[in-house]
Symmetry: C2
């Protein structure tokens, strides 16, 4: 009753029966689960038949029949792919959109019901984020994005909030050097966000300078995604982007109040160097030659 394996298996049991309930709710609209899943995949923006087949793990014959039945119902329309006439492209009709929305409303209602009977909503959501990240680890994608995108802003907001909590003296963005974004855009630099199925869970910036080196900035991993090696993945992505941009020297600054960050840098080939700026927050400085 106390060992980790039992606890995970208890979680599995709870979740299996909840998912069962979730599955059966997809029935109740007069459509078998397979067809409902295809309809939902299309509604969520997948339009390439082969992609849907792959995503849902279906045999091509079965897929074909499911599409045919949705077409007969008037839920979808198919047309040949513009560039490859062997492929087909699917999209919802108006009736299909309505039906998809009905499924969405069902799912939302279920989520709301779970939330409604829980008074510690933040803790519950944080737990869900964590487990979603752990289970969806293989589906975490790193994407280059503008540092002004919604996703990047969200990450940066969480990053600053965390610095505020962890620095004894608090943290004021405006006092930090160069809070703005223009140097983290190609070709001077880049900004990378880690997305786990629509939730941003980490970021890193590569900031170009005019001093013969570039800087790594704003490395952040969501509490929900810690322990999965995402920090290392983000750093590797930033370093390989730097190589690609012809950058050969990287520097970064950090604070000893963030020991896990310092540890990561030391383990991945960075060397401590003397202070190279007069930013008030950092007290540790690193450099790496690519």
């Amino acid at each position: 009753m106390l060992d980790p394996i039992s606890r995970i298996r208890r979680f599995n049991r709870a979740v299996t029966s909840a998912v069962g309930a979730l599955d059966t709710s997809f029935l109740g609209r007069g459509r078998p689960l397979g067809a409902a899943r295809v309809l939902n995949a299309i509604g969520h923006g997948r339009e390439d038949v082969a992609e849907i087949r792959d995503y849902l793990g279906l045999d091509s014959g079965l897929m074909s029949r499911l599409l045919r039945s949705l077409e007969d119902e008037g839920m979808i329309e198919t047309s040949p792919h513009e560039e490859d006439a062997r492929r087909r492209v699917v999209r919802l009709t108006r009736a299909g959109r309505r039906e998809f929305n009905a499924y969405e409303a069902l799912s939302n209602a279920q989520a709301e019901a779970l939330l409604a009977r829980h008074s510690q909503k933040d803790a519950l959501l944080a737990a869900m984020d964590m487990i979603g990240s752990a289970l969806g680890q293989s589906r975490t994608k790193l994407s280059e994005m503008s540092p002004r995108s919604d996703e990047a802003r969200y990450c940066l907001g969480e990053y600053y909030a965390e610095l505020g909590r962890r620095f004894k003296q608090g943290f004021d963005v405006k006092l930090s050097r160069d809070p703005d974004a223009k140097d983290m855009v190609r070709p001077r630099g880049i900004f990378i966000v880690a997305m786990s199925d629509s939730l941003p869970i980490g970021c890193v910036g590569l900031k170009g300078t005019d001093h013969g080196y570039a800087e790594i900035k704003r490395l952040w991993v969501s509490p929900a995604a810690r322990g999965l090696g995402l920090g290392r993945r983000l750093m590797e992505a930033a370093e390989s982007a730097a190589r690609e941009l012809g950058i050969s020297v990287l520097r970064l600054d950090t604070n000893s109040a963030l020991p896990e960050a310092g540890q990561l840098y030391r383990r991945t080939g960075w060397s401590e160097i003397p202070r190279f700026n007069d930013d008030p927050y950092p007290d540790l400085f690193f450099e790496k030659h690519l």
Copy 2:
């Protein structure tokens, strides 16, 4: 990307595909899922056919056929129920036990794999406990148990640990009045543990005294189960047990460092009274007439 509903639905997606993988792992041993589920139910100690049928939600005809196929495989043996010859009782043969163990090993390996690729194991397990409790809310059972049972000891250990964290001066069990258990056993009192599918997630004790009242002691709800109204359920169970034992006055002591407890008592008909003992820890005292 930030609203609670989307976060819950992201969790659902992650978990649905993980559970899908879990389900298919039950295949791979040359047995359809239905038969595997029945075999597992039997392996976990269910032996009454009707009970298994009810637990798995199966039709009697289907159940009968699944049992027959397991019997043909040599995995189980059935015999008539000793007291009711209409019923049947099932148990694993030696081969069935082996097969069941193989499924168990599979499940354990899966759990271990998840744990192995996560370095923040405690946080992950805590998140799983929380979600398991939230999803399995309807399956949380309150059971009367000896305060010396493993389950009770586990709860009390967690309870004391939490007091140690939350009291400024720490907490030493030995200094607290009456740490022992004999007064929380019928007919003087009782001890109740809340179990969520083999994990103890809360407890409460009703302790008989010789002063014309009984005391509520050791009310604890696991962090994993907070926000679900379990504290109230435990208190209601303790109060109705008190009524049943002919007790008409209840008292309890608590500490203002545990504000959520005081709030619960005030909301459920308890009145604050002057100090009625010289225990060093409590600073708030309540009474309720049943």
